[in-house]
């Protein structure tokens, strides 16, 4: 029977796609508020330029490399420079035909490809040369994200009963609904590699590097939370019960993590903070991303709550090990992503989703946990090593870091010739026109 386009599913996917796009400007606010006032524009621009670069690459070869069917390889999709021109009338085929246009699926997946490299930028705040960052985004997307998206998200070309070109981890039975491995572990491991490679900011641990605007951070976390409903519930690729489950789990896990994080702060430091609430929400969103369609809502609360506690403790590790992961990409995205991906091995239940298999608590033994661990390990190791190599090559050719005096004076002024705020009216100056 031929699948015909379903307008309800298509409408939800169009809306979800726009929601996921909004996450990247949301991330720009979230990160932008956390840096000092002299580098907020650069921080936000690192996200914005990612939208520009990755969108262009996606049309010309990115989509094909991740989701194309020509290679029949578990490691990459295919090479084609058709610019998606031949796909305009196709429906989505990803391990089965979905009643939504391929271009809608391609646009939805593009938004994931955009936010993943943008997430990395928080690890190297205040000090990366903007041109080097732009080059990094293009190479990293090509060498790391597009292939890894194939490993995890490509369920192959299904014609009749034959499926070909299934991604390696998808074929191994990794359960990652919306990108715990491909997005968060991937970005987290890359962030760790770049933070080590670029080194610490001038004055790290000596000067106070306080967030310059916590209201911006709160705004950003709100936009991320809102957009994440598209990220997770949209990953059902349909307006159905699985989307509803993912939606509810996204909400309650995030709530659990928010409470978990500020509870740790209250006990440890005496004050629950706004930065803690915003960070806890994001930690919960990260952790529930892979699990959102495979666990019951009560389990989502537990996963989120543990994520809030775990990540709030993990963000202190950088001081212990001495790497300046400025905005805690490792502590939140790598640690939260690992926890969320493994949690499916514990809480996964086929009663909530017939596609999923039972985890430890539902009598499934350690089988699923093993598959999850394989996915976590493979993506983390590949991303870390590939990022080190790419970053090293950029450092040795065009240089990755701005000069010391430019960093101290402020990267906004030196890389963009702009300043975010007019601090004194006497600094207004005159026009050269």
């Amino acid at each position: 029977m031929d699948v015909v386009l379903n307008s309800g599913d298509t409408a939800w996917m169009l809306a979800s796609t726009a929601l996921v796009l909004l996450m990247t400007p949301g991330l720009a606010f979230f990160y932008g508020g956390m840096v000092r006032s002299k580098s907020v524009l650069n921080m936000m621009m690192m996200s914005m330029v990612t939208i520009g670069i990755v969108s262009v690459l996606w049309v010309f070869y990115g989509y094909e490399l991740a989701f194309g069917h020509t290679s029949d390889s578990p490691w990459y999709g295919g090479f084609s420079l058709s610019g998606l021109g031949s796909k305009v009338n196709d429906l989505t085929n990803n391990g089965g035909t979905y009643p939504i246009p391929l271009l809608v699926f391609a646009a939805f997946q593009l938004m994931f490809a955009i936010i993943t490299p943008a997430l990395i930028s928080g690890a190297i705040a205040d000090r990366a040369k903007f041109s080097a960052w732009a080059v990094f985004v293009a190479i990293w997307s090509t060498v790391v994200y597009f292939p890894v998206a194939h490993w995890v998200f490509a369920f192959g070309n299904k014609v009749g009963d034959t499926v070909t070109g299934v991604g390696y981890l998808a074929g191994k039975g990794l359960e990652d609904f919306a990108g715990g491995t491909a997005v968060h572990i991937n970005a987290g491991a890359a962030g760790l590699a770049l933070a080590i490679l670029l080194g610490k900011r001038v004055g790290w641990r000596k000067e106070a590097m306080r967030p310059h605007s916590l209201p911006l951070v709160m705004l950003g976390s709100g936009l991320l939370w809102f957009g994440w409903f598209g990220f997770n519930a949209g990953s059902a690729l349909a307006a159905n019960g699985i989307a509803g489950l993912a939606f509810m789990n996204t909400q309650v896990a995030t709530a659990g993590a928010l409470v978990g994080w500020i509870l740790v702060e209250k006990i440890r430091n005496g004050h629950p903070t706004s930065l803690g609430a915003a960070s806890g929400a994001v930690a919960g969103l990260v952790a529930i991303t892979p699990a959102c369609a495979f666990v019951a809502p009560w389990a989502a609360v537990v996963i989120g709550f543990i994520a809030g506690i775990l990540c709030s403790l993990a963000v202190g590790l950088k001081y212990k090990f001495g790497f300046d992961d400025s905005l805690d990409v490792v502590g939140v995205h790598l640690v939260g992503g690992i926890w969320g991906s493994l949690s499916i091995g514990i809480f996964g239940a086929s009663v909530v989703n017939s596609v999923g298999i039972n985890g430890l608590l539902y009598g499934g033994g350690l089988a699923l946990l093993g598959k999850q661990a394989l996915g976590v390990g493979l993506v983390a190791v590949y991303s870390f090593i590939a990022t080190l190599i790419i970053g090293f090559a950029i450092e040795k050719t065009i240089g990755f870091r701005v000069k010391k005096d430019a960093e101290v004076e402020g990267i906004d002024l030196n890389e963009h010739a702009e300043s975010a705020y007019e601090m004194y009216s006497s600094s207004r100056g005159g026009s050269s026109l």
Binding site: R210, E265, N269, S279, V315, G316
Partner: protein
Amino acid sequence: MKLITAIIKPFKLEDVKEALTAFGITGMTVSEASGFGRQGGHTEVYRGAEYTVDLIPKIRLEVLVDGSEAEKVIDVIVKAASTGAIGDGKVWSSPVDNIVRVRTGERGTDAI
């Protein structure tokens, strides 16, 4: 002629301004300042990382007065700015050689 400089708590600015106006002072310069004295700083915590903030915000208020009024003006400021708690600030006076009103060119005490 004297320049009276007062470092006070920001929330005391209105009280001091009112008291000085009531006394008959017709002008002053106010700026935001930061520093520390016996009060010391405070601690802020961001994602578990503690920062000691040494410099605390204060208001720096400057008034030019005739030498004979200086002691009285200082008393007015001290009375209005006092809370009795640590960190109330300091007031001092210093001699001024000359004063010129830019608009009229008046000099000395006429320019106050």
